[in-house]
């Protein structure tokens, strides 16, 4: 096989794996290959070339840096930017905060959603509160969270004080705001999933001798799994949204959002754009990862009989 064709195939497989929506299911191989080339290679290259020429022509890198400067930042992720640390360390800190907040949101959101969906008085008691708090932008919780948690960090919560590790950067206030961001979509999707379980499946389980508690594990939970996973995907996406905004506000001293605003204050627009690209890419990767997990876990979804 000629090398060109091999490369072509590899690229095509990569783009398939990434799940890029090129061509319909029935479209020919050739058409989808062109589709993936167009979206993943040709358009970005055109954009980069136009950008580079425009930036060089403008010659004001503190406003509009050329591609080369941004790429230079991206390929040196360990470069220290004065007080704010490197791109890599800040990204890592942001991810750590998101991971913790998201796990907390997933745990409480899913269990509360299931409880509200299956126990009437729990739903009756909590729904009005949820409905009022849900439309509130999670960032609005930040002043309150900072007031409550002060500058407390995760190690301090466990009485470890200052540990000189990355965990010292995990402020409880931040984690709380991320938690709020992820909690509501996870809760509402889980609730919809549980209440949407078809009565027929409950009857079937009952006819086969399932008792109440087992119906819960073997019918409610699997039947609402697609909605739960949808909630988790939306929740994770929102967590990543929220952390960037939270880190950009005064009071933050690390994280990719902080690096972004710090670089902006120092007129380092190349770092700003590099950070933007990283935030976008990570968001896309997180969404993709969740979608992969979902299609692996619920093969039957959308194919109900």
């Amino acid at each position: 096989m000629p090398r060109g064709v091999q490369e072509h195939k590899k690229l095509w497989r990569l783009s398939r794996w990434l799940g890029c929506p090129s061509g319909g299911y029935f479209s020919e191989l050739r058409a989808s290959q062109t589709g993936s080339y167009l979206g993943w290679i040709i358009m970005p290259v055109i954009l980069l070339v136009v950008w580079q020429f425009a930036a060089v022509w403008l010659n004001q890198p503190w406003i509009f840096p050329p591609v080369t400067l941004v790429i230079d930042q991206l390929v040196h992720p360990l470069r220290e930017h004065y007080a704010s640390g490197s791109i890599l360390s800040n990204t890592f800190i942001s991810l750590l905060r998101v991971l913790l907040g998201f796990l907390l949101a997933a745990l409480t959101g899913v269990s509360l959603g299931i409880a509200m969906g299956s126990i009437r008085f729990v739903r009756g008691g909590l729904e009005p509160i949820v409905e009022v708090l849900r439309p509130l932008c999670p960032i609005a919780w930040l002043p309150f969270a900072i007031a409550v948690f002060k500058r407390g960090t995760l190690p301090q919560l466990f009485g470890l004080g200052y540990t000189r590790t990355v965990f010292d950067q995990v402020q409880l206030g931040m984690v709380f705001v991320i938690f709020v961001g992820g909690f509501f979509p996870i809760l509402t999707n889980t609730l919809d999933g549980v209440t949407g379980v078809r009565r027929n499946y409950l009857l079937l389980a009952q006819a086969l001798g399932a008792k109440r508690r087992r119906v819960f594990w073997h019918v409610y939970l699997p039947a609402s799994m697609p909605m739960i996973l949808t909630g988790l995907r939306q929740g994770l996406g929102l967590c990543w949204f929220v952390i960037i905004a939270a880190e950009m506000l005064p009071g933050a001293e690390s994280g990719i959002g902080y690096l972004l605003i710090y670089a902006s204050d120092n007129a380092a627009m190349d770092i700003v754009i590099a950070a933007m690209l990283i935030v976008g890419s990570i968001g896309a990767l997180l969404s993709l990862m969740m979608r992969r997990i979902m299609s692996g876990l619920v093969r039957w979804h959308g194919k109900e009989i």
């Binding site: 078809r198 027929n200 499946y201 009857l203 079937l204 001798g209 087992r214 194919k303 009989i305």
Partner: protein
């Protein structure tokens, strides 16, 4: 009547189900009430394959749900045979939503056993044997959406048989499959019934199906649902649809049902 000792076949066969003067009325939210069943009397003996035939919406399914314990009658009573228990050895096969879409065929069939606390290896072994019996060998790990309509109903029957039911309730289970598949499924059900001698109550709106399967055919009249007639079918199995007596019966039931439509 079994005390008289006249009818020898009914004497040796134990009663599986007695339905006595059962009535059921549904009330809608707007206040209108629909009488679904009135004065239904039915006696099913162990090992019988009783088919209930009637127009759609005549209350057959309502009666079946009452028997299954999914609903309770407003008038009269139902009595189950001594060894029958709801959620125990009474199985139900529906027309739709017969399988859990998130479980593979084998895992669907073993659901009832799992609920009874049978060990994993044993229940999978028994489920595999049942799948083979209904002609689904090799489809153990297929999800319901990967099976055809007929295969799904086969799996559903295996799922019901897995709990070793003493009474099998079937609600138009072959209503959604094409004719040739339907004939195959009827043959399979007959074979299974002859082998296990399970009591089966089979609801259908297809007269042909009712006669092919039933050792007793109960004809339902409409609104309110009432038993119009009972036929004991003693034609040899497998039943020949071209047989004179078969066609005579068919026409008789057909006239009875279309008479009500007027």
């Amino acid at each position: 009547m079994s005390h008289g000792g006249i009818d020898s076949s009914s004497k040796e066969k134990v009663m599986a189900l007695e339905v006595y003067k059962v009535g059921k009325t549904f009330r809608s939210d707007t206040g209108t009430s629909v009488k679904a069943l009135r004065d239904v009397n039915l006696l099913v003996r162990q090992g019988e394959l009783v088919t209930l035939v009637g127009a759609t919406g005549c209350g057959k399914t309502t009666l079946l749900n009452l028997i299954a314990g999914l609903d309770t009658p407003d008038e009269g009573y139902l009595r189950l045979g001594q060894d029958l228990r709801f959620g125990g050895n009474i199985a139900h096969v529906f027309q739709h939503y017969t399988l859990f879409p998130w479980r593979t065929a084998i895992s669907n069939v073993s659901f009832g056993l799992q609920m009874r606390g049978v060990r994993r290896t044993e229940r999978l072994c028994r489920a595999a044997a049942l799948l083979a019996k209904v002609g689904l060998k090799g489809f153990e790990n297929a999800y319901p959406h990967e099976l055809s309509g007929g295969m799904r109903q086969r799996a559903a029957i295996a799922q019901a048989l897995a709990i070793e039911p003493k009474l099998l309730l079937m609600d138009e289970p072959f209503g959604a499959v094409d004719d040739s598949t339907r004939t195959e499924l009827q043959q399979m059900l007959t074979d299974l019934w002859q082998e296990n001698q399970t009591t089966i109550i089979f609801v259908t709106h297809n007269i042909d199906e009712a006669i092919v399967l039933g050792s007793k055919v109960i004809v339902f009249s409409e609104r309110p649902g009432k038993i119009a007639c009972e036929f004991k079918i003693e034609l040899p199995r497998p039943r020949d649809r071209m047989n004179n007596e078969f066609t005579k019966l068919f026409i008789q039931i057909r006239t009875m049902l279309s008479g009500q439509l007027d």
